[in-house]
Symmetry: C2
Subunit: 322 residues, 2 copies
């Protein structure tokens, strides 16, 4: 069963079906509506409807053809259908290729929080075809670059430097630059997840920028900003917080913010108000007993999880949002 | 978070909350509507609503207080909430104490099939308080006895003999008889699940009576017959099928059917028509490529999974349904 969306289906669904037909007795396609705002139970149920109407059994393989939303929903459907069937990720966006398709995090959103309902469930295989990035809108390329840039400050300053040198080539979709960015991103992610699949420790560093980012997405309503755009801006806020906590100097913050800007990403957050930001971040999965915990940088090239005084967070919001 | 239903809440929710209060910073209760017909996504979402509205985090423990429906839904909610939080089973029905609370199968129903959406997710602990059976309606006691009886033909003929000797004591809720029945049932189930948690082999024998039983439940609409009633009648049909396949003699079938009848369970299925039975059984989770596979007995005390010719299944339906 190929699960895809209305945007990707006309581009690649037939080609994937042809490639799979020698391997399976029958290949069917379920096409979901496109966009983060559809990443909820009703859309997930379209996958279950398709599986049950086609008489799919425990040996059925689900193929997620699309971006992070398709991957997250297909993976969660695979985790739950008959209590678990195999699935394969075929990511067609840069963001999914460098981040969401690797590591087995699957989920849907709840009206009270993003990715609140899901499972850790590993794909059998992740197939990144760089040619599919040719049809990706510029805005989605930038969103994907947010997650590529992320790996620099949290884990690899050499890679951060390489991205600075190649950011224009990446935005212009130079195949060699893309190949290196996707490969190195997957290497770092696999290295982290291999040590801590269930996010009991190290894995949490991959959420750099995501606590502020999720608040932006939830505060504006899912689908207004792309996930990667919110993460880009969230990294700016988390960098400012790291600086206010005395963990990195202003020059490092400026350097990273400049790169995020050159990637075509927003660096100022929406003016939701500090109270609303704090309220939204208190339901973050990393929060414990109502205390928000942030992934901050310090020293550069390493990340850590820690709480921060509300007053400091309010200053960051005042500086970074308008 | 205690998850219970409208029937059980007034009986035991306060008592459990008092018992838990020394162990947790705060104890809350979510009360679901009662009955198999509510075992679907909308009801599951009431648990997520309650968890998110109370700001519950990854350290929150879910306590399932009730029967199999509450246990299956609470376990699945625990498996999915923030990709997994701990949970404890506190079963208050005989069926849940001897079967559904042990082994980590959790699920909700889909309109096209029972337990189609779920997870294998083990509770931290199962607490069987026999005193809670005092408030259980007779019909539910009988339904629970179906799953007790099940362990005899599939695994333990000595236990089958013991049940025959104590069936009246069990129906009269004799505490010593109940204690032995619950203990031995859990032992057999734990022995099976310990060897095959994910049901890739041996565990499937626990589904004896369930293929026909699920068809009865789905065909009549969930909630008409109790699950245990459908399983009781499903065992009668599976025994007849075993006999027609030449695996057990007629005397063994008669012996088991007599015990099922003495337990207060139906031994004749509803007249859904053979076509409808076959259609419903083809979406069973044990089916492969549209071929229904049945758990049959043979020799007595052992079970096996095998397909059966449609013609033979039609004869069984003709014999056992009116």
């Amino acid at each position: 069963m190929i699960v895809t969306n209305q945007l990707v289906a006309p581009l690649y669904a037939d080609r994937l079906a042809r490639a799979l037909s020698p391997r399976h007795a029958s290949v069917r396609t379920v096409t979901l509506p496109d966009g983060e705002e559809h990443k909820h139970w009703q859309t997930l149920n379209l996958i279950f409807d398709g599986l049950l109407e086609s008489g799919c059994d425990r040996k059925t393989v689900l193929y997620a053809l699309g971006g992070g939303v398709v991957g997250d929903m297909t993976g969660f459907a695979a985790a739950c259908y008959m209590r678990g069937v195999p699935f394969v990720q075929v990511p067609t966006t840069l963001l999914a290729q460098v981040d969401s398709s690797v590591g087995g995090k699957t989920a849907i959103n709840h009206s009270l929080g993003k990715n609140m309902i899901g499972a850790f469930y590993q794909p059998q295989l992740v197939v990144c075809d760089l040619d599919t990035l040719a049809t990706l809108p510029d805005r989605e390329m930038s969103a994907g670059l947010a997650e590529v840039i992320k790996y620099g400050p949290i884990a690899d300053l050499e890679f951060l430097g390489w991205i600075e040198d190649h950011i224009d080539a990446l935005r212009a979709r130079d195949p060699q630059a893309l190949a290196h960015a996707v490969r190195r991103s997957c290497e770092i992610k696999a290295w982290v997840v291999g040590q801590d699949e269930r996010e009991t420790g190290l894995r949490v560093i991959l959420n750099f920028g995501h606590t502020f980012g999720h608040a932006i997405e939830a505060g504006l309503g899912y689908g207004q900003w792309l996930h990667g755009e919110a993460v880009g801006c969230g990294m700016v806020m988390a960098l400012h917080l790291s600086h206010r906590l005395g963990l990195v100097d202003a020059a490092f913050v400026d350097r990273c913010v400049a790169l995020i800007r050159r990637a075509g990403l927003p660096t100022m957050g929406p003016a939701l108000g500090a109270d609303r930001y704090l309220e939204l971040m208190r339901v973050d999965k990393k929060a414990e007993a109502g205390e928000i915990r942030f992934v901050v940088i310090g020293p550069p090239g390493q990340a850590q999880l820690r709480p921060a005084p509300d007053a400091l967070v309010r200053e960051v919001i005042a500086d970074c949002c308008r």
